[in-house]
């Protein structure tokens, strides 16, 4: 296990390095400059300011400088938020995004699992159909439509919950609900399919033949073995949601990281593009690693290389 972890860690570093390189050169292919007032500046003025930033140097030189700074842990400063360090920009905004994503994942997974399990056990009964309809609706209604709907009826009309902002737990309920619908839908779908397959397999039949109760069969054998695909999608999904979602954050005025991904690209804010991409990639790689480890925990048949004596 230790050797495996170390090996994986080296791969993670290499992957990150490749991502950083690709992103850097792709980003430099974007047209335009990171200047905010470029509409009003003459080409000469633009050139002067870019020179001060060192952006007139050849791209490979800039790349080596960037890597050098990166090794020192310096992600640079933002252009759109004049001189604000990128690390500060990310750390200021990641809290709300992570909390919102985490809540949505926890709530969505639990509800999704229940729906999926019920649908599988009550296969082709009304429970199954209801769960399927919910899953299909959840997958097809965009979260911003649902979010707008929730905001208007629950916050504006009924005034049960706040319209927007991020000032305490009750402010998180509506965005969490809006965000978790997609999670519920995909978890329920995966769980139902896998459960159906597992329930019709031989060892379930054996378990039943041994006289184990229905609940026992479901909990001890069926659910555990059905979790593999759910775990697989859970890793990337968690990272996705926890690093911020543009639409929901905008709708509920959540001070999160979601918009930075998009805005920094639109504005050619090079250091922020690099910073957010690397941050996101690192989390994603980490999540994939955790998922790999979890496989073994859930299903003893899957064991990691070097894990067995």
């Amino acid at each position: 296990m230790a050797r495996y972890t170390l090996q994986r860690f080296v791969y993670m570093i290499i992957t990150l390095f490749i991502i950083a390189t690709l992103t850097f050169f792709l980003m430099k292919l974007l047209p335009g400059s990171p200047l905010q007032n470029q509409e009003k500046l003459t080409p000469e003025q633009k050139a002067l300011i870019l020179k001060e930033y060192g952006l007139d140097k050849p791209v490979p030189v800039q790349y080596i400088q960037y890597l050098g700074n990166l090794l020192k842990g310096d992600l640079g400063v933002s252009f759109q938020y004049d001189n604000r360090p990128v690390t500060e920009l990310i750390s200021d905004r990641i809290g709300p995004s992570a909390q919102l994503g985490f809540q949505a994942i926890v709530f969505g997974t639990i509800v999704g699992l229940i729906l999926g399990i019920v649908a599988a056990i009550r296969h082709n009964h009304w429970e199954d159909y209801t769960a399927t309809v919910i899953a299909v609706l959840g997958a097809s209604i965009p979260s911003f439509v649902l979010g707008g709907f929730l905001q208007y009826f629950i916050a504006v009309k009924l005034q049960w919950l706040p319209v927007a902002f991020w000032e305490g737990f009750k402010y998180t309920i509506l965005p969490t609900l809006a965000l978790s619908v997609g999670v519920i839908a995909s978890i329920a779908r995966f769980m139902r399919t896998e459960m159906l397959e597992v329930l019709s397999s031989d060892y379930i039949l054996t378990a039943r033949a041994k006289g184990i109760s229905q609940a026992g069969v479901i909990i001890k054998h069926a659910i555990r073995n059905s979790l593999i695909p759910v775990i697989t999608i859970l890793g990337p999904m968690t990272v996705n949601l926890m690093t911020g979602t543009l639409v929901i954050e905008k709708l509920f005025a959540v001070p999160g990281l979601g918009e930075q991904f998009v805005r920094s690209i639109e504005l050619n804010d090079y250091p922020v593009i690099m910073g957010t991409t690397l941050f996101y990639s690192a989390l994603l790689i980490l999540a994939v690693f955790i998922v790999d480890v979890l496989y073994g925990v859930v299903d003893p048949r899957i064991r990691l290389a070097g894990g067995k004596k």
Binding site: T42, P162, S213, Q214, A253
Partner: protein, 550 residues
């Protein structure tokens, strides 16, 4: 067995609710104590609740480039002058000024009771330091060019002369001498602009890289201070007890929250959490008859730039035909619907008044009108002159929703009214569009311009042959001369200068390098108890100094 299973399900459900609650609760213990909505119930309290669409990018006046930064700077800082209720400059940190006979040297007398929020006096040295900091190439200020009227400013900014040769000097603590390159009649108004704010040298140097990044790493000398700034969430203005004119500031506190989505902003207004909210076109119909609905006209113009080097746009009749073939009234009514008006000019309405006190627009009137018949006639003539019957033009456009609608509309109008013309729309990201325009790699381009200072010149200098923003290839020696005269020889004769500019605008429409489309308006809702909320046509969008709650 079945019964037991349903029991299990119930338990699981109960557990899930519990877990979900836990999940949220854990991260939230510290935030839970936060205020619940903070409804402005007691309205006599001098508290105003506002929304902004964006986080403040910078409070460093040397670096600010965007609308939000300039709004905040205008309310927490004060320059030599500030824009008053009627958009005319009124004394700020300066009490008065004297101007030399040749109009090139301004001597500002500063008031002695102006203080920074840390108690230091605001002196002429603070202005000299701040302005030279803007011009220092190392500062990388993107608005440095706005100071180029000052002697040696451009040279210093481009590294050709040292900063100490720039024509700004503190003669003593309360006297500031500014030497200009040319006489600039609008210079006093310019000192109200964000980039011209003073900075406390000691404080700025002590903060270093952190200056302007947080509420407590910035020093204030305006009507308000920022008492709180939570990034991406909002900020709070509190009345500045050190402000020299604090007796005229009535608001005690202004809460500003960042809300990027208009629908959300409207919902917050509806639930009385915001006192003023900007509306986009889709909300105008719903609120048009609301008593709190207002529109205002901004001095920002939009037009089609025409590449006069490309056939058929090298023909003046073709250009005139295009300018006359678009029904701009229908366009502002249906597509924009926010108080925008059709533009038939290149100097906006309600922007500047001449020495006679008359609006520039009232004197020069409309210079081009929608006239499909006349357009068709000119178009046929152009076709004959060019010896061709069919033309295809590319319309370069922004990639925003609003611009898409305008682009489609322009295409439909031109193709309908000018037979044989085909328009292809090419949408490009902002930066790329600017690049194509400045390389003149376009045929028609939807673009716009907002003022840099309060004078028709900010619009008129665009179309001189040496202007880097001309980008149409159009040039006219008479026009160039009129503009040059207005900037130099006539600069001290207000009436003659004004007449030259009036005449120049007419020449633009004889050559027609642009087809004007509209002057932008803005629709908004504002509660009736908000009084004297002053909006500006130049620089910052609004001032809170005089606002109060009734």
């Amino acid at each position: 067995m079945k019964k037991r299973f349903s029991l299990f399900l119930v338990l699981l459900l109960a557990l899930s609710t519990f877990l979900a609650a836990c999940g949220g609760g854990k991260d939230n213990n510290n935030a839970q104590g936060g205020q619940g909505g903070e409804k402005p119930a007691e309205k006599k309290e001098q508290v105003l609740n506002l929304l902004e669409t964006q986080e403040i990018p910078s409070l460093d006046s040397a670096l600010a480039t965007d609308a939000v930064s300039f709004i905040v700077l205008n309310n927490v800082m004060e320059g030599l002058y500030r824009l008053g209720k009627d958009n005319k400059p009124v004394p700020g940190i300066a009490e008065s000024y004297e101007v030399s006979q040749d109009g090139k040297t301004y001597t500002f007398k500063l008031r002695k009771d102006a203080k920074w929020s840390n108690g230091d006096p605001v002196t002429a040295h603070d202005f000299e330091f701040a302005w030279k900091r803007v011009l220092d190439p190392k500062t990388k200020s993107e608005y440095a060019y706005i100071m180029y009227d000052i002697k040696n400013a451009q040279e210093a900014n481009t590294g050709k002369v040292p900063l100490d040769q720039v024509g700004v000097k503190a003669l003593d603590d309360y006297t500031l001498k500014v030497e200009l390159k040319n006489p600039v009649p609008y210079f006093v108004g310019l000192t109200a602009f964000g980039t011209f704010m003073p900075q406390n040298e000691k404080f700025v140097k002590a903060q270093g890289e952190k200056y302007g990044l947080e509420a407590n790493t910035t020093l204030y000398n305006g009507p308000f201070v920022l008492s709180e700034w939570k990034h991406e969430q909002g900020w709070v203005y509190t009345k500045n007890p050190n402000y020299w004119d604090k007796d005229n500031v009535k608001l005690e506190k202004v809460n500003v929250k960042v809300v990027k989505d208009t629908a959300t902003a409207v919902n917050l207004y509806e639930t009385k959490q915001a006192d003023r909210v900007g509306l986009t076109a889709e909300f105008v119909d719903k609120y048009k008859n609301d008593k709190n609905f207002h529109t205002k006209l901004e001095p920002t113009l939009f037009w089609l730039r025409m590449n006069t080097k490309k056939e058929p746009l090298n023909n003046v009749n073709a250009r005139k035909a295009i300018a006359m073939a678009i029904d701009t009234q229908a366009m502002v009514d249906t597509l924009l619907n926010n108080g925008s008006i059709p533009a038939k000019f290149t100097v906006p309405k309600d922007f500047v008044t001449g020495p006679d006190g008359k609006d520039f627009r009232d004197v020069n009137g409309d210079l081009v009108n929608y006239n499909p018949d006349e357009a068709k006639k000119l178009w046929e003539q152009a076709k004959k002159e060019l010896g061709k019957d069919k033309f295809t033009l590319e319309l370069l456009n922004y990639d925003t929703d609003n611009a898409k609608k305008i682009g489609e509309y322009v295409k439909a109008q031109l193709e309908q009214n000018l037979p044989g013309l085909t328009i292809n729309i090419k949408q490009q990201p902002f930066a790329q569009k600017l690049k194509l325009e400045s390389n003149m790699q376009y045929d028609l381009s939807f673009s716009g311009w907002g003022p840099d200072y309060q004078d028709p010149m900010t619009f008129l200098q665009l179309w001189t042959s040496t202007s880097p923003h001309n980008e149409t290839g159009w040039s006219n020696p008479e026009y160039d001369k009129l503009i040059k005269d207005a900037q130099t020889t006539l600069a001290n004769d207000q009436q003659a200068r004004w007449d030259a500019m009036l005449k120049a605008e007419k020449i633009v429409f004889e050559g027609m390098p642009i087809a004007p489309l509209y002057q932008r308006g803005a629709a908004y809702l504002q509660r009736e108890y908000v009084k004297d909320f002053v909006t500006h046509t130049f620089g910052a969008d609004y001032s809170l100094k005089w606002a109060y709650i009734e």
